[in-house]
């Protein structure tokens, strides 16, 4: 009988240990989650002033997960880019529930991204962004159909070099300015 009793005791001790270990893990997780919530809430508050009046830059794919609110360059830069996506300079995650943003519709300014105009609008409800819309997006021009599909790769460069090959014709900027000079350098040549 004593053996059974000691078995029972050791099993019980093990169970207690398991219980406390599990409880600790769960408690740690909850504590972490609450901490994260408080941290995000603070960050949300600090950017509250910026968001309603600033430019709204959003991921062009319009994904609702991890929507970023960021500021945009206000003028067209010379950085080569064909994809009309606003450049995100800084990001603040506002996926957490925060009362920092008043409900409403925020409209960004129209940005000229060199190949068209882009304007985004965000809808905030209950402190969360519930909708993102492109009010203006260059889809009505032939060129933008290609722009929407691809991004411009980094283009190759080279130093110019004089060529010695013979050429038939030369293409260059216009040489003369006034009137037509009809150069009668036309040639009649047989194909053979």
């Amino acid at each position: 009988m004593s053996r059974n009793r000691s078995n029972f005791t050791s099993n019980f001790n093990q169970a207690i240990k398991k219980f406390f270990l599990s409880a600790f893990v769960v408690f740690a997780f909850i504590a972490y989650a609450i901490h994260e919530r408080l941290t995000n809430s603070n960050a949300g508050l600090s950017s509250a002033q910026a968001v309603p009046t600033s430019n709204a830059g959003l991921d062009a794919s319009g994904s609702s997960a991890g929507v970023q609110v960021s500021s945009l360059p206000t003028s067209t830069t010379s950085v080569p880019t064909a994809a009309p996506q606003p450049t995100a300079l800084s990001s603040t995650s506002i996926s957490s529930n925060t009362s920092a943003f008043k409900d409403g519709i925020y409209t960004g300014p129209t940005i000229d991204v060199n190949y068209g105009l882009v304007q985004v609008q965000a809808t905030v409800q209950n402190g969360k962004i519930t909708g993102v819309q492109f009010l203006q997006y260059p889809t009505d021009r032939r060129t933008s159909q290609q722009i929407n599909a691809i991004a411009v790769p980094y283009l190759q460069q080279e130093a110019i070099q004089a060529q010695s090959a013979n050429v038939d014709i030369i293409s260059g900027a216009t040489l003369t300015s006034e009137g037509f000079q009809m150069s009668l350098q036309s040639a009649l040549a047989s194909a053979h």
Partner: protein, 244 residues
């Protein structure tokens, strides 16, 4: 407009009168569209003597094409500048295209038409090969810095290094466009190549990116530091400098 016109017709049976006919056509275009001629139709419009709605069909067509190009280039092509209208950036390519069409209608297949460095090429040269077009060195007019082998397409080069400023940035009047000296565009025909070369040049350094995204066009841009930037499909036209 003012520029030398050169053409070569390889097909046998092309005769002098045909070439005269082409030159006559360019003369007619110059009489109508040259801003250097006081009596031209465009000058009369610029002086307020003629309203666009009363202008000839050709003039109204050019204005329509210019407006279409303005939209296609997001405003970077604009024939209006400082209160005056100068359609030369689109008239040149259009006129060369029409001249090429005259030749084609006559049954010719192997020729080129070159007006001021903008070229429409068709068929093969007298050696039976694609036309060899050299891109002029903006820093030395006696040199060619790139040779391309092309057929049935248009090659247009926009630049400010010779005639002085004649292309403007419609979006920024203060932009002197000094970064880029020359932008050569290969397009499906010379009308398309010319209008987009003009538009892209006004975009400055971004012009080559515009040509890159434009389907069916390739480009070679030379900047003030003698650096060339070219589109990803450009290399297939290049004839490399070879020993023979």
């Amino acid at each position: 407009m003012g520029m030398p016109i050169m053409l070569e017709v390889v097909d046998a049976a092309a005769d002098e009168s045909l070439l005269e006919g082409i030159f006559d056509y360019f003369h007619h275009v110059d009489e109508k569209f040259s801003t250097y001629k006081n009596s031209s139709e465009i000058s009369r419009i610029n002086h307020g003597e003629l309203k666009l709605e009363d202008a000839t069909e050709e003039m109204r067509l050019i204005f329509e094409l210019a407006e279409q190009t303005r939209r296609d280039s997001n405003g970077y092509f604009d024939i209006h500048h400082n209160g005056l209208i100068d359609p030369s950036g689109i008239v040149k390519g259009w006129a060369i295209c029409n001249a090429a069409e005259i030749l084609r209608k006559e049954g010719f297949e192997n020729f080129y038409v070159d007006a001021g460095g903008d070229i429409q090429v068709c068929g093969k040269n007298s050696q039976g090969e694609k036309w060899r077009v050299g891109i002029r060195n903006p820093f030395n007019m006696h040199e060619v810095v790139k040779v391309i082998s092309v057929t049935d397409c248009g090659v247009a080069t926009s630049g400010t290094y010779v005639r002085g400023q004649h292309i403007y940035n419609p979006k920024n009047n203060q932009d002197a466009l000094v970064e880029i000296l020359s932008l050569t565009v290969i397009g499906p025909d010379i009308y398309e190549a010319d209008r987009f070369a003009t538009a892209a040049f006004a975009m400055g350094r971004s012009g080559i990116d515009f040509i890159e995204v434009l389907s069916g066009f390739e480009g070679y841009m030379i900047d003030k530091d003698k650096q060339a930037t070219f589109t990803t499909g450009f290399a297939r036209f290049v004839l490399n400098d070879s020993i023979c």
